[in-house]
Symmetry: C2
Subunit: 223 residues, 2 copies
Amino acid sequence: MDQVKIIEIKKSVFEDNNKDADALRQELKSRGVFLLNLMSSPGSGKTTTLIRTINLLKGRMGIAVMEADIDSDVDAIKIKDATGIQSIQLHTGGMCHLDAEMTRQGLQGLELEGIDLAILENVGNLVCPAEFDTGAVRNAMILSVPEGDDKPLKYPLMFSVCDVVVINKTDVLPFFDFDLEKCREYIRMRNPNAQVFPICAKTGEGVDAFAAWIEAQVNDWKQ
Amino acid sequence: MDQVKIIEIKKSVFEDNNKDADALRQELKSRGVFLLNLMSSPGSGKTTTLIRTINLLKGRMGIAVMEADIDSDVDAIKIKDATGIQSIQLHTGGMCHLDAEMTRQGLQGLELEGIDLAILENVGNLVCPAEFDTGAVRNAMILSVPEGDDKPLKYPLMFSVCDVVVINKTDVLPFFDFDLEKCREYIRMRNPNAQVFPICAKTGEGVDAFAAWIEAQVNDWKQ
């Protein structure tokens, strides 16, 4: 393949959110609430994955969900209808991500009594959400097969900040040029410690392993 | 379906880019260059669609491409190898979008002599790129079938600012719950004037209509 010209365009700098995120984590720790931040591209299956996962876990712990979107409330309604748990919608007013203060505003809208696991479904976006610590204890992301196995090359920060990469829509692997082993290798390049869970949220295949990982993390946090 | 709680989180404000974008459009007009801004989620097929489209148009006009990504240069190389046209990579240094000034920096890296159509492949992101006028004459976006037909509900601004919505990966329609008519209706809600082109970039089906639209726009601009 040929070489091409590369131009480095300047970047603006963000600040000060990290301290706030640490403070939020401390607050949550003292209340015994584990916050999971779930990120992905638009349409990779965050909501369907959450429904499957929550239905496996809800008998074992108290769970609440915050659904962040630019607009609409379809996801929060879907979660509530399909799982019966507490689910609220956060509208970001056009913002492309959530920071710790925005997450705190969301948490204030939840009834946290009896909640062990609060899940933030972040705005569908592989770029900005990765740049802002939300105060979550763990970050997870979903990469879906139709998006392509090269995404860790193009969105390095997202893969670096995530403890878990869920590879969703494995049922359509035969119809896409997606090399699972190559993808695992690209993920390792960005983050050697990331756990990878291939799943099919539509059928439920593989979701139990992701749910078990969450349960272990929550139990760990509460000790 | 049940109602759920909705919390409106505050938004920060952007400024001043619009004037710069108008100035850039004027500069391009005086040089006879039409700038097309192509946006989409990660993995929706921007690069493959461009390759198909450029190969239909390159005998009829001078074309150059700017590929914007957080990192990697795989797309610019792919375009160059598959079409032979001038193709450069823009690294945004982590930035989630391009504004007019960043686009101008990119254009300065192109040899514009003999170029009628400059294409900016924006960062894969349905949120931020929609908020910044790049100075392009027209905005186009790609929505791929696996992302779901509800995206116009969740990412309203992106669909509002686009003159064209290309619906890609129609070959996998049988494997996804994607209702093409419902999707057209949602797009109309956001933007009654948007043109919709269903295509399959992999096989080339439908790409000719999108290419013909571009050609008409370029000819119009150059008069």
